[in-house]
């Protein structure tokens, strides 16, 4: 069998060096994307794959697409991904154990079959005519040539895509919008709630954090007249994180001296 795929032309030396250097790296990065546990690491590996694809675009005389790839994909889309990752919680660790039994071997077998089918198709494909490369098409400059096509032959698709962009923006706003079920508590509401709580102990507000000669910060509880630390004097967030300094070390050591 004659391998017709070889007829579509070969590349110059520097480009093949570039390809053989970057292609294995991008394949490794995309495999790593599946294997790493944290979603942030997958996002970084995907950004690497996208940058190497942009370099491939530029190497293939698609300068405009290469720049757009870097600006839109690695710039905007990946930052959006990282933004949502931070919003949804970085620490939601994605466990890699399968919970549908036998899913992983089936998926990998099917994927190897699919990939084999694709590559063998490419190997047998015939492209009908010898390649002419993009020297003629890019003679006025890649961006100019693309603009000319975009605003003549593809102008209808361009308009449809602009409608799609507006719809997507509106859809995201509708989806992300959440109606508050009740209005936010104002200072007046908080004050009324304090007085109606049953006991008037905290009616004047919670005690402030400790202010001592040696230490003045929100992470030290105030001392009660009894000498104990007042737990309500520091923020609940600090308590949950455990970022509290013992206030007993700032206490006046009168009792020891009396003994």
């Amino acid at each position: 069998m004659i391998n017709l795929a070889l007829d579509i032309g070969t590349t110059a030396g520097p480009e093949s060096v570039l390809f053989y250097f970057l292609a294995p790296l991008s394949i490794l990065a995309s495999i790593g994307m599946l294997l790493v546990k944290k979603a942030v690491h997958s996002a970084l590996l995907l950004a690497w794959v996208m940058i190497s694809l942009a370099i491939f675009y530029i190497a293939q005389d698609a300068l405009f697409l290469g720049i757009v790839q870097i600006v839109v994909y690695t710039g905007a889309v990946m930052m959006l991904f990282l933004f949502i990752l931070m919003l949804v919680g970085v620490d939601t660790t994605d466990s890699l154990d399968e919970n549908i039994k036998g899913l992983r071997p089936i998926a990998i077998t099917a994927a190897i079959g699919f990939g084999g089918l694709l590559t063998s198709l490419i190997a047998r494909a015939t492209f009908g005519r010898p390649t002419t490369l993009l020297i003629d098409a890019n003679s006025v400059g890649n961006a100019n040539a693309i603009a000319e096509l975009l605003f003549t032959k593809y102008v209808f698709a361009f308009e449809v895509v602009s409608a799609l962009l507006i719809t997507a923006a509106l859809g995201a706003m509708v989806l992300a919008h959440s109606q508050k079920s009740r209005s936010k508590f104002a200072q007046r509401d908080l004050s009324i709630a304090r007085f109606r709580k049953g006991e008037l102990k905290d009616a004047a507000g919670l005690p402030g954090p400790g202010v001592y000669a040696l230490h003045n910060a929100v992470d030290v509880p105030a001392l009660l007249p009894t000498g104990k630390a007042a737990p309500t004097s520091i923020s609940a967030v600090l308590q949950a994180r455990g970022d509290i300094i013992e206030s007993s070390q700032f206490q006046l050591q009168v009792e020891d001296e009396e003994k």
Partner: protein, 99 residues
């Protein structure tokens, strides 16, 4: 090096993305794998444009990028909405329709 090598790379990246969509459970990682598949298709389009000697393939790749950007915006909004109501970004937890 044959130009077809770019097509092989594109096929491999597409396959890896497809495995990721099936195997991973974090919705955001699944989404990133879909992005990888779209990018692999774009590489094939750019290579075909080069093989055929006209820029139509590059125009299609450009439109793919725009559609992918829309898809990311809407998809991530859906993920945030699901996370807000379920406190989880795992695709297995959204199983309300399961018997």
């Amino acid at each position: 090096m044959a130009i077809a090598n770019y097509l092989y790379l594109s096929a491999i990246l597409f396959t890896i993305g497809a495995i990721g969509v099936v195997v991973r459970r974090n919705a955001i990682v699944v989404f990133m794998c879909i992005e990888l598949m779209l990018n692999a298709a774009n590489l094939a389009f750019v290579t075909f444009a080069r093989i055929n000697g006209n820029l139509d393939g590059q125009i299609v790749a450009f439109f793919t990028m725009v559609v992918a950007a829309c898809e990311v915006v809407v998809g991530l909004a859906i993920i945030v909405t699901i996370y807000r109501s379920r406190r989880s970004a795992s695709v297995d937890d959204a199983s309300l329709l399961k018997l």
